[in-house]
């Protein structure tokens, strides 16, 4: 499964770069992520609960960052084991391009599944992977910029108990 897309983010490349390296941002961005610990140097440990077609499982795995060329490009690779559900592994080549309004984030994602996920979920896996990637980058964008919709912002901000307007990450670093 391969997927190539890009997304405009209203923040400078160095802010986007820092966000990618932040385990808390990654935790909020990875759909279904329950836990994310670690550092960009050592890699991150993650626990993700997801349902692929008829298979629901808790995936435990590692995410490592490589080919880091600050603040222009890097590669994320991850592998999660879901016990009886099988495994999922994949990678994303990410490139940041400065634009007038912020940053154009380009990504090329490759994903592979094995075991029961492949046996039962193959029919839905491409759609699932696209949805996961879209959600990840949408969540990431939201974490950096703040929600597009003020009502969503309300909810998010209430939960976080902080001020509005900016994304919580941008707020922290600027």
């Amino acid at each position: 499964m391969q997927l190539t897309d890009s997304r405009e983010i209203a923040a400078a490349p160095d802010i986007v770069w820092a966000a990618i390296l932040d385990p808390e941002v990654l935790k909020r961005s990875v759909p279904g992520c329950q836990e994310m610990t670690g550092t960009p140097e050592e890699g991150f440990e993650a626990t993700v609960v997801q349902k692929v077609g008829p298979v629901k499982a808790t995936f435990k795995g590692r995410v490592t960052l490589s080919a880091m060329n600050e603040p222009e490009s890097l590669t994320l690779t991850g592998e999660g084991k879901g016990g009886a559900a099988g495994f999922a592994k994949g990678g994303a080549d990410v490139r940041l391009e400065p634009t007038e309004t912020g940053t154009r984030l380009h990504y090329e994602v490759e994903a592979k599944v094995g075991g029961k996920l492949a046996q039962l979920g193959s029919r839905v896996i491409d759609g699932f992977a696209k949805k996961m990637a879209d959600q990840f980058f949408a969540n990431f964008q939201e974490a950096v910029e703040g929600p597009a919709d003020p009502e969503d912002a309300e909810t998010v901000e209430t939960a976080e108990g902080g001020e509005k307007k900016k994304g919580w990450f941008k707020r922290m670093v600027t």
């Binding site: 009886a84 046996q119 193959s122």
Partner: protein, 791 residues
């Protein structure tokens, strides 16, 4: 007036009463006091090295009895292969080790890495989740052509490459075949795929291993078509248990279709673990496990050439096939693409020059072995498809092209090493055409066209070699076992009779048809005869049921044993009647003296054998029990002609089977109703292969069609309505070499029908102006639509 009992009667299947009322005794119904349950942790990688396997946390989980890994099986034998093929260079096939539990490496998705035995199945499953296993993945070998390329990743490091064998048959004929093709007036070439199938018997595999501490005896209850073969293979080659200390029971079995012939790791494990733990261990396969651990079927890629002279006589056939073996050699895997396939390439035709080349290939997939028809459907499909293509290219009638090339004189020695004893291919063709009403086809096509559908008619013939097999012949061909069959006939004191057969019934209806034969021979009611099968403790050594052999070989053994009984009872009757033995006649359960009114009933003679007060003790022993082993002198050769009419929706590519007609020659028929049922089922499976079923691996060796969401089994509405589904077996040329004159009917439908369906679809497409030469199976709507639209 049809007979109401004995040979030729459609006696109702007595076993169906228990099957249909939930009173069957399947392996999963067997529970041994105190049994534990095993859950197998299987590889979800297609190929890789196990770099870390830590069971310590899992072993502490509640209810866990013990966790076994490959290390526990280091000193245990591997699963043996029962057939050795010698290739065209005189080399024996490559035969990699086939461990019960993975030894440091996994080679297909589903291979067993660890076995968790716990008090309950749920505990075993939970504990398996806590096992830490890391696999360093290696590139998966999936595509057969890529597997044979220079430098391809090897499935087995200790083998030079992924080629199991390169078989040529008959190698000496190769030059003559090349010459005939070079000089032919016309050569038709076709490349095709025989799609990989999963057998999917309704009952998944189950094994219960038991061990009796007091006697040291092991018992395995298992879903097998051949319990004696399992006892021999597992006892002698895997676990080192002598046969007298090992009992294998295969009780009611819910369908086999070949996939329950083979000796599997799970049953060896349960027997091993029961002894190690001194506690019974049970495994019941889930449907998901069945997809990735039952041996698969077919999976051939073939190129066939048919050469004809200027008068359309077949002058040569040459075929090259790649046959997928999967990651390991299953029990009879090497024989399927060779001796069960190459020997049938003459088909029903007198082609003088034939050469068959088969390269068997290891890949990172589940092992592939015999599935209903085993090799013969692959032979029939390519031959009948290429003949159909030739007829179209030459502009001749496909029926006439076949007829002019039929073998008409018997016995007929083919150029591919077998001798057909008898047959009448024009008769089955005539019968099929009569049932088809070929003249009415044009009108039926018009009706379909009025509805916007394309109607096609496909016809073809088939022949198979059944009743396997003559032991001396298969021994020369590489079989590591004999293929005789056995029966013990035990007559009880009150005249009732038990037949203990080495054949095994898992849907074939032996419990009904075997008594019909005995009833015919002795003249007692069928319900006086009980059939015992499936238990090595109370049946003579037999080779089991596959290859449409039960009646032809097992039934013949029963006839031989019953003949011994009849000879002995005649001696007893002669004594009781004070007459010469030569004058005694047995008819309708009564012995009489020819030309007199003196008689004695069957039951009185039997009683005399067990209460020998007035008995010729100086000449014969008391009791009435006889055993016979029967080894056939040749295969049997059932043959037939099939027709299918399809409607194709050109808008969607959907194919519907409108009519299906089979005219088979099975020789003599014991129970017509059972024969018709067997053919119906075989055709349903053949239609399944032609239109629906496909086992698919992705490029990483992941099995992506491993549930009924993605593996399409035929359903009632995929098959023709009963009224349009005619099976006929009235053409009967009795087999010349077995005492019943029977040939076997179990596989015919699955062998004959796939090319019929594809031929019909192509005929439909051509009628709509779509010049399509071939569509690979399964002919799904997407494939048919793509063919119509030139994609």
């Amino acid at each position: 007036m049809p007979k109401d009992h004995g040979i030729g009667a459609s006696s109702k299947r007595r076993e169906d009463v228990r099957f249909l009322t939930g009173a069957g005794n399947y392996t999963d119904d067997i529970n041994v006091h105190g049994q534990a349950y095993v859950h197998f942790l299987r590889s979800d990688a297609a190929h890789g090295t196990i770099s870390n396997l830590d069971t310590s946390e899992a072993a502490r989980m509640p209810g866990v009895v013990r966790i076994f890994t490959g290390a526990d099986f280091e000193g245990v034998g591997g699963l043996p292969c029962g057939w050795q093929v010698t290739d065209r260079h005189g080399e024996v096939m490559k035969e990699p080790a086939h461990p019960v539990l993975a030894q440091g490496k996994v080679r297909h998705v589903g291979e067993i890495i660890a076995a968790v035995v716990a008090d309950t199945l749920e505990q075993a499953r939970d504990a398996a989740e806590a096992i830490v296993v890391d696999i360093d993945e290696l590139p998966a070998v999936v595509d057969m052509k890529a597997a044979l390329e220079e430098g391809a990743t090897r499935v087995h490091d200790d083998l030079a490459d992924n080629l199991c064998y390169d078989w040529g048959f008959v190698e000496e004929n190769k030059g003559a075949v090349e010459e005939a093709i070079a000089n032919a007036a016309h050569v038709t070439t076709l490349e095709l795929v025989n799609n990989r199938l999963v057998a999917n018997p309704m009952e998944p595999r189950v094994a219960v291993g038991d061990f009796e501490r007091g006697t040291g005896n092991s018992t395995l209850y298992t879903t097998s078509q051949n319990p004696h073969v399992i006892r021999l293979l597992m006892g002698a080659f895997v676990l080192g248990i002598p046969e007298h200390k090992l009992r294998v029971v295969a009780p009611d079995v819910g369908g086999g279709f070949g996939t329950k012939i083979f000796h599997y790791a799970e049953e060896a494990f349960c027997t091993f673990a029961a002894k190690a733990l001194n506690r019974a261990v049970k495994w019941t396969s889930t449907r998901s496990e069945a997809f990735m651990s039952d041996a698969h079927g077919r999976d051939h890629v073939t190129r066939i050439e048919l050469a004809l002279d200027a008068d359309n006589n077949f002058v040569a056939v040459r075929t090259e096939t790649l046959a997928n073996m999967g990651a390991y050699l299953s029990t009879f895997a090497p024989s399927v693409p060779t001796w069960l396939h190459g020997t049938l390439m003459a088909g029903n035709y007198k082609t003088p020059n034939i050469y068959v080349n088969v390269k068997a290939v290891f890949t990172n997939t589940v092992p592939v072995d015999a599935y209903r028809g085993a090799g013969r459907p692959e032979a029939t499909f390519q031959l009948e498809r290429v003949i159909d293509k030739a007829a179209r290219e030459l502009g001749v009638d496909p029926v006439e092209l076949r007829r002019q090339n039929f073998i008409t004189e018997f016995p007929y020695a083919t150029p591919v090493a077998v001798e057909y004893d008898t047959g009448d291919y024009h008769a089955t063709m005539d019968k099929m055409l009569e049932l088809l009403d070929r003249d009415g086809f044009a009108a039926r096509r018009k009706e379909s066209e009025a509805k916007g559908k394309l109607r096609g008619l496909g016809i073809n013939c088939f022949i198979e070699a059944c009743g396997i097999a003559p032991s001396n012949l298969v021994g020369q061909l590489g079989a590591r076992a004999g293929l005789y069959e056995s029966a013990t006939v035990r007559v009880n004191a009150t005249g009732g009779l038990v037949v203990m057969t080495g054949s095994h019934s898992h849907g074939q209806g032996h419990e009904t048809s075997f008594p019909q034969v005995i009833s015919e021979m002795i003249g007692i009611p069928e319900d006086q005869v009980e059939i015992v099968h499936g238990d090595t403790a109370n049946t003579p050594m037999g080779m089991g049921t596959y290859g449409s052999r039960s009646l032809a070989v097992g039934g013949s053994a029963m006839v031989r044993a019953a003949e011994k009984i009849i000879n002995k009872t005649k001696k007893i009757a002669a004594h009781l009647l004070e007459a010469a033995e030569a004058d005694i006649e047995l008819k309708d359960g009564t012995f009489s003296v020819a030309g007199t009114d003196k008689s004695v009933a069957w039951g009185d003679v039997c009683l005399a054998a067990y209460v020998p007060h007035n008995y010729p003790l100086e000449d014969i022993e008391p009791g009435l029990e006889e055993t016979a082993f029967y080894d056939p002198s040749n295969f049997t050769y059932p043959a037939g002609a099939y027709a299918c009419e399809v409607e194709v929706d050109p808008e969607t590519g959907h194919v519907s089977i409108e009519r299906f007609i089979s005219a088979d020659d099975f020789g003599n028929v014991v129970n017509p109703m059972i024969v018709e049922g067997q053919v119906h089922g075989g055709i349903a499976q053949g239609i399944g292969q032609a239109l629906l079923e496909n086992c698919v691996y992705d490029e990483n060796g992941q099995l992506v069609s491993a549930s009924y969401m993605d593996y399409a089994m035929p359903r009632a509405d995929d098959l023709p309505h009963m009224a349009s589904y005619t099976v006929d077996h009235s053409c009967q040329t009795p087999c010349t070499h077995n005492p019943l004159g029977v040939k076997g009917c179990g596989e015919a439908g699955a062998i004959g029908s796939p090319p019929t369906v594809i031929n019909a679809i192509l005929d439909a497409l051509h009628s709509g102006g779509h010049k399509v030469d071939h569509i690979d199976m399964p002919a799904t709507p997407a494939r048919v639509w793509a063919a119509i639209n030139g994609q």
